[in-house]
C-alpha cells in the first residue's frame, strides 16, 4: 500500500479520528472464526447469576452426542452498544485456571470462546448437583441419603479438593450448589470464579478479595478476619457440606451482616454465633493463635457455649462413630489442626464398609429429577439480562437460593 502516512504525528491524528486499530486483524480473522452458535445448539437456559448466565447445549457436530453447559460472562456494561470493558478478575481466573485443571472430580472445561465482548466457557454438562440432591431428600418428606451414597459423594468431593490443593489452587467457594454430579454418578467440583493460586502469591490473599466463601460455609478464621489463610478454608466448607448431607439442612445457617460500605467488612456475629452454639466457644488451649485475630475482641464479647457437636450429630440421627470423628476433624477450629484433604481421604470412615464407589448412585434406587431447563430466554446472543432478576437473584450459583456472599 502506498497510502501509509509517514511520521509519528499522523498516527496520533488517526487515533483521534476514531480509526479502528484492529481493522486489518479482525478482517483477516473473520474468515476463519468459529462462532459459538456455529458449533453449539442451545437447548435451554439453566440459571443466571451476577457473572452472566448458564445454558444447556449440544454440539452441532453429529458425531458428538455429549451435552454441554455454556457459561456466558456478560460484558460489564449492557445496552445497545457492543462495549469492551475489560474481563473481570473472576472470569479471568476461571478461564486461566480451568484451562490447566484435569481431574475426574473437577468440572471439565471443553473450550473457551471469546466473541463480541462476551466470554463463553463450554463445560461438560452435569445433570445433578448436591443442592438438588439434598432438596430431593428433604421434600416433601425427609428420607436420609443412604450411607454408601453419602460416603461416595464425600470421598469424591475430597478427592477433587485434594487435586486442587496439590496444584496450589484454593477453591474458596465450595458449597452444595457448586458441587455437580453427572448422570453417571461422578461428582464434579465447579465454579472456580473465586479460586486462585496460593503458591508464591505476590500479595496477601486478603488484599485481593476481602470476602470469600458463601457465609454458611465460611471458616472461623475468615470470620475472625484472617489476613493470611490456607487450604484449610476449603476443608471447613467440606465439613459443612458433609453435615448438610447428613442433616439435609445447613449446619450453620447464619444471617449475613451486610457490608456498610466497600471498605469495611463487618464482623459476622450471627454466623459465628451459629458455629459456637454447636461447636462450643473456641478456646486458646485448642487454638493458640486465637487472640491474634483482628476480630478476637468481638468474639470475646459473645456469650460462651459448651461443645455440643456430638449431641447435634445424634439429634440428626447420626450413628456412625467414624463419620462423627471425621466430621469433628473437618470442623476443627484451628486451621492448623483441621484435616487436610489428603488426610481426610485416608480416614477410617472411608476404609470400613460400605466401600466408597466411583459411581455415587451405585446400589441405590432414588431417581433424582433432571436439572430444570427453561426454554424461554434461551437466546444466548441477547444483550440484555432481564432474566438475572428472576433467577437466583444476584447469586453466583445455579439455584434460586438467596445469594450468601
Amino acid at each position: 500500500m502506498s497510502n501509509y502516512r509517514r511520521g509519528v504525528g499522523s498516527y496520533s491524528r488517526m487515533l483521534g479520528g476514531g480509526t479502528n486499530p484492529f481493522a486489518a486483524y479482525t478482517a483477516r480473522k473473520a474468515k476463519t472464526k468459529k462462532r459459538v452458535l456455529d458449533k453449539y445448539e442451545i437447548i435451554g437456559y439453566i440459571a443466571a447469576g451476577t457473572y452472566g448466565r448458564v445454558y444447556k447445549a449440544r454440539s452441532k457436530d453429529p458425531g458428538d452426542t455429549n451435552q454441554y453447559a455454556i457459561k456466558k460472562f456478560k460484558a460489564d456494561k449492557e445496552g445497545e452498544m457492543v462495549h469492551y470493558a475489560g474481563i473481570s478478575q473472576s472470569a479471568c481466573r476461571e478461564v486461566a485456571l480451568c484451562a490447566e485443571l484435569d481431574n475426574r472430580n473437577i468440572t471439565k472445561l471443553v473450550e473457551t470462546i471469546l466473541e463480541d465482548t462476551c466470554i463463553y466457557m463450554v463445560f461438560e454438562y452435569a445433570e445433578h448437583d448436591l443442592l438438588q440432591i439434598i432438596h430431593y431428600h428433604s421434600h416433601p418428606e425427609r428420607k436420609p441419603i443412604p450411607e454408601y451414597t453419602l460416603k461416595s459423594i464425600l470421598w469424591q468431593l475430597l478427592n477433587g479438593v485434594s487435586y486442587l490443593h496439590q496444584n496450589w489452587v484454593l477453591h474458596r467457594d465450595l458449597k452444595p450448589a457448586n458441587t455437580m454430579v453427572t448422570s453417571d454418578g461422578v461428582l464434579k467440583i465447579g465454579d472456580l470464579g473465586l479460586a486462585r493460586l496460593f503458591s508464591n502469591p505476590l500479595q496477601s490473599l486478603y488484599s485481593g478479595d476481602k470476602v470469600v466463601v458463601t457465609i454458611w460455609y465460611r471458616a472461623p478464621e475468615l470470620l475472625l478476619g484472617a489476613r493470611h489463610y490456607s487450604p484449610a478454608v476449603d476443608l471447613w466448607a467440606v465439613g459443612c457440606i458433609f453435615a448438610e448431607l447428613l442433616a439435609l439442612r445447613p449446619i450453620f445457617k447464619g444471617e449475613e451482616a451486610k457490608m456498610d460500605n466497600k471498605t469495611n467488612v463487618p464482623f459476622q456475629r450471627n454466623q459465628m454465633q451459629k458455629i459456637i452454639e454447636i461447636l462450643g466457644s473456641p478456646q486458646e488451649d485448642d487454638w493458640p493463635s486465637l487472640s491474634k485475630f483482628p476480630e478476637y475482641e468481638s468474639l470475646k464479647q459473645m456469650k460462651t457455649f459448651p461443645p455440643n457437636l456430638e449431641a447435634w450429630y445424634q439429634s440428626i440421627g447420626g450413628t456412625n462413630q467414624k463419620g462423627f470423628q471425621l466430621l469433628s476433624r473437618l470442623l476443627e477450629y484451628d486451621p492448623a489442626k483441621r484435616l487436610t484433604a489428603n488426610d481426610a481421604l485416608l480416614h477410617p470412615y472411608f476404609t470400613e464398609a460400605p466401600k466408597v464407589s466411583q459411581n455415587v448412585f451405585e446400589r441405590q434406587e432414588y431417581k433424582y429429577p433432571p436439572r430444570r431447563i427453561s426454554c424461554e430466554d434461551s437466546d444466548i446472543k441477547t444483550m440484555t439480562y432481564q432474566g438475572t432478576k428472576r433467577g437466583s437473584q444476584g447469586g453466583d450459583n445455579l439455584h434460586p437460593r438467596k445469594k450468601q456472599k
Binding site: 486499530p21 469492551y84 475489560g86 496444584n167
Partner: protein, 280 residues
Amino acid sequence: MSANYWTSSQRLHWLLTKETLAERRKGLEDIFDPGKLQTIKALNPWHVRVYLHTLIHLLGQNLSIRQRILATAEVYLTRFHTKVPFGEINPYLVVATAVYVACKVEEHPQHIRTITSEARSLWPDYISHDPTKIAECEFYLIEELGTYLVIFHPYKSLMQISDAMARSNAQITMAPEEIQVTWSMINDSYITDLHLLNPPHIVAMACIYMTVVLRSHIMRMTMPSEAVKSRIEAFMTFFGESNVDLEQTIDCVQEMISLYVNWDTYSEKQCRVEIAKVIT
C-alpha cells in the same frame, strides 16, 4: 498444573520446536502487502524484540509492577506474535494489553483506566484515551493464546538449582552477586524465543552456566584464580550429573550470546523511528 510444569498448558500447548516456530512465522508473512512486508523485513528482529522489552519494562516501572508479572506479559507478547505478526496491530497497544492481562492473571490487578492513562502518558502518539481499545485487544490476546494464561518462569528453578548445587558434592554456593547476575540474565531471556522452546529449568540452567562459567571474573575478585578454575570444573561435574539436557542448555546459552551481540548494535532511538514507519 500450577504446581507442576509437566502437566501445564505451557508444556502441553505452548512448547514449540524451532521448526514449528519458523513455519508459523513464515506463514504470517503472507498477510502483508509486499511494500509493508519489505519495511518490516528491513528491521533487525533482535532490535525489535529489545525495543518491545524496554516498552514493557518502562510501563512496568511506572506502574511499580513486579518483575514476575512483566515476565508473564513478555511471554504473552512472544506467544501472540507467533499468531499475529508484529506490525498488524499497534505494538504499543499490544504491550499495554499484555501487561494489563498479566497483572490480572498474577493476581495483582490494575484498573484498565490506570494502565491506559499510564501508557498514554508514555506514548501519547500511539495510545488513545479510550480504555475500550485495551479491553478489545485483551480479547484478541487471550484468544490467540488459546486462553492458556498460567506461565512458569525460571526464577524458581534458579533458586532450586542453586540450592541443589550447594547441597551436592560440588558444594558450590552461588554468591549474592552471582544470583543477581543470573536473575538479570533471566530477565533478558524474555527478549528471545527461549520461553517458547524450552522448559523453565533449562533456561535457568543456561543462565547459571553463563554466570558461573562465562562470567567467572565475578568470583576472581574474592577468590584465587586456581580456586575459580576448580569451581568451574566442579560446576561442570554437577551439570553433567544433573540430568538437565546438556545440548538444549548449550543451545540456550548460544541464543543468549546472540542476543547480547545484537544488543551491542541496538539504538533505541533508531529503532523507534523504524518501527514508526511500519505502523503508520
